[in-house]
């Protein structure tokens, strides 16, 4: 695996070097690599064996040189963001605990998990840890109550996922619309644009106008799963994990593009009719 300095978000900065007072200042430019998480599929099945040269990455329309592309098992940080409002009780709660347990058991030794649960109150029940048993124990102790602050909780999941080095994965489950968050949808979607995290969302119940989770998944290159019942939630969680493991991690050093602002990304595979799913872009301060 090529060495690279992982970036939290995509970061550019210019280093200004001043000569002695009175002399004309000179400038040295230093950039950090941009990291892009991409899922490549061939008729729905993950594509394997692609190399950097197989990819084309356009940053604001400028073709970039991909330095690294790998499906190597880079450890990731999985943050579970689970709805524990009053509507998630009884059978739904059982299914949710079971499904989360399956996902946690499927994590590998060097992968970390965190648990965020929410009603109107957002709780970090466990910060990122390799101690999966601790996370499972915390999950068993949480009881549903109150309203739904899925927007506040999703934001918390984003920042928690990036709190330690590693590929950030956020899995959000909610069975309802937001009823009590302080942060707005736009504020959190804006945060997602600055984030490295990939968000997979699972929504149960029939809410045709529930666009927040869909937008959040889309902005981060993830996906939204709508399920009718929580009975097969375990399979959905495992499918998410499996899909995430199949994603390529691409890196490139930006060339020919301005540092700050929105970077529209387009990721393609050359000469092959493969489907690529990646975040649509990223924002740099």
């Amino acid at each position: 695996m090529n060495k690279f300095r992982p970036a939290i978000g995509a970061v550019f900065f210019l280093g200004f070097v001043f000569a002695a007072a009175g002399q004309t200042p000179t400038f040295a430019v230093k950039t950090e690599e941009v990291r892009v998480d991409a899922l490549v599929t061939d008729h729905g099945k993950p594509a394997h064996g692609l190399r950097p040269a197989d990819f084309e990455v356009f940053d604001n329309g400028e073709l970039q040189k991909v330095d690294f592309a790998g499906q190597d098992p880079i450890p990731f940080n999985a943050v579970l963001v689970l709805d524990m409002s009053s509507s998630v009780a009884g059978e739904r709660l059982r299914h949710l605990r079971y499904a989360s347990g399956l996902l946690l058991d499927a994590l590998k030794e060097d992968e970390r998990a965190a648990l965020v649960t929410f009603s109107h109150a957002v709780s970090i029940d466990s910060e990122l840890t390799e101690n999966i048993d601790l996370v499972k124990a915390r999950l068993e102790s949480v009881e549903p109550f109150g309203d739904t602050a899925v927007i506040d909780a999703s934001y918390t999941g984003l920042i928690l996922a990036e709190s330690r080095p590693g590929r950030p994965l956020v899995i959000v489950f909610s069975d309802g619309l937001d009823t009590s968050s302080w942060l707005t949808e736009d504020a959190v979607l804006d945060a997602a644009k600055h984030s490295d995290a990939v968000v997979y969302a699972v929504s149960s119940g029939k809410h045709p106008k529930m666009t927040f989770l869909q937008d959040l998944a889309q902005y981060t290159g993830g996906a939204l799963f709508r399920i009718e019942s929580t009975g097969n939630l375990g399979k959905v969680f495992l499918d998410i994990l499996e899909e995430f493991r199949q994603r390529y991690l691409l890196t490139y050093l930006p060339q020919g593009v301005l540092s700050k602002g929105w970077h529209k990304l387009e990721v393609r595979v050359k000469d092959r009719k493969l489907t690529v799913k990646a975040r649509p872009g990223f924002q740099v301060y």
Binding site: A121, I124, I159
Partner: protein, 415 residues
């Protein structure tokens, strides 16, 4: 019985005497259901007995008894009591006074004053307590106006609340004019607060529509009117609107229209009482939500200067932070969020706002650590309480005191 017969005899002496009895309309009824032409002395007497016996604030045997009555019987009684009270107020002849006094159980002083206000107000109190403390009732038919019952954004049922209307109708007949009666004003203020405290927004909306007809310039009633529409504009109500298949019957509009209504009422409230800090606070909030952040800051600053309660200062700072952030004044925003975090250190909302504001800044790790320390505290710990969670009912935080005071006033009890 003798007085009843006498009253009927006297009334029968008028030409078209029966036609002179007014017909009382009740909400939701296209045609009058009650004909006061047939005086129900038995029902009035039974009702009056329970009104007199009733202990305010309790679902006692009197309240339970009346609650079990068919709605039509209660409508009959109220219609007839109102009619008799009106007759009394119009200085009837001695021949009429005696039976009215007997039927309504009035004292000599009340007869001299020419009003049945005590009975009307205590009757209103009985029906108030039934409305608040009694069982939820389903509509009797699909066409009866009913309220949606919502939990966590989901409609879970419908219910009706006829006793509020019974109470209002009784108070409408307070002599000489309910608008000039401070007890009636106190009743409307207290009950509106109570409804909001219990999140009965539809009930409160109708109630306040009536209250404003009687007290159009009352700052508190205008304020409560604004808070109902502010709630209707909020995510809770708007998401319910989205998920309800009968959205067209849900009784409130889209976000912007509700915000405009709310602003209208809050502006009226601060016009009626320029020192009303809490009204300035909510005016600022809705003005900001309508996109006018500069004006919002003006109102919120007035609020911040006028209020001393930590809860209200918390809201003022939180909202000011939001408005400054929307204008790109990040230093001012941060100062305000810091302020609100200082007032309620374990509240999550200002911490979330601060981490978002400071993203990319050098002191973000510190802010993140603060957020994590708050969110890692068990929710069961009372210190974690965030006033934002209860903002939609914060205006009614004194509802219990208002109701207790009102009951004591009407019943003549010591406080």
């Amino acid at each position: 019985m003798r007085h009843k017969a006498l009253l009927l005899f006297v009334l029968a002496g008028f030409s078209n005497g029966m036609a002179q009895f007014p017909r009382t309309r009740f909400p939701g009824q296209g045609t009058p259901q009650v004909d006061v032409g047939h005086l129900r002395y038995d029902l009035i007497s039974a009702w009056r007995k329970e009104v007199t016996r009733h202990q305010p604030g309790e679902m006692d045997s009197s309240a339970s008894e009346i609650e079990e009555w068919p709605r039509e019987d209660i409508q009959t009684v109220i219609g007839q009591v109102k009619f008799l009270a009106r007759m009394l107020a119009n200085s009837p002849t001695r021949a009429l006074k005696i039976p009215i006094q007997s039927i309504l159980g009035l004292t000599r002083e009340e007869m001299k004053a020419g009003n049945a206000n005590r009975l009307l107000k205590r009757g209103a109190l009985l029906h108030t307590d039934i409305a608040i403390l009694g069982l939820d009732r389903m509509p009797e038919n699909p066409w009866e106006p009913a309220r949606y019952v919502v939990r966590d954004g989901r409609v879970i049922g419908r219910k009706v609340d006829p006793h509020w209307e019974f109470a209002r109708l009784l108070l409408d007949s307070v002599h000489p004019n309910p608008a000039g009666d401070e007890m009636v004003r106190q009743w409307y203020r207290a009950t509106a607060a109570d409804m909001q405290n219990r999140r009965q927004w539809g009930t409160a909306a109708d109630h306040l529509n009536r209250a404003r007809k009687i007290f159009p310039s009352d700052a508190r009633i205008l304020f409560y009117s604004g808070t109902v529409h502010e709630v209707y504009a909020g995510t809770f109500a708007q998401n319910t609107r989205i998920t309800t298949t009968a959205a067209s019957r849900i009784g409130f509009g889209a976000r912007k229209s509700e915000l405009l209504r709310a602003r209208e009422f809050f502006e009226a409230a601060v016009t009626a009482d320029p020192a009303f800090g809490e009204a300035h606070l909510r005016l600022g909030r809705v003005t900001g939500m309508l996109g006018d952040h500069t004006r919002a800051i003006v109102s919120l600053k007035k609020a911040a200067a006028a209020v001393s309660e930590p809860l209200l200062r918390y809201y003022a700072s939180l909202f000011l932070g939001n408005e400054y952030e929307m204008l790109g004044s990040y230093d001012e925003a941060r100062a305000q969020f810091d302020n609100s975090a200082g007032l309620f250190p374990m509240a999550q909302s200002p911490r979330l706002a601060l981490t978002r504001l400071m993203r990319g800044a050098k002191d973000l790790p510190g802010a993140l650590a603060d957020l994590q320390s708050v969110l890692s505290m068990p929710v069961s710990n009372s210190l974690r309480e965030d006033p934002w969670w209860n903002y939609e009912v914060a205006q009614a935080r004194d509802a219990k005191e208002l109701m207790d005071d009102m009951r004591c006033t009407i019943w003549g009890l010591p406080k």
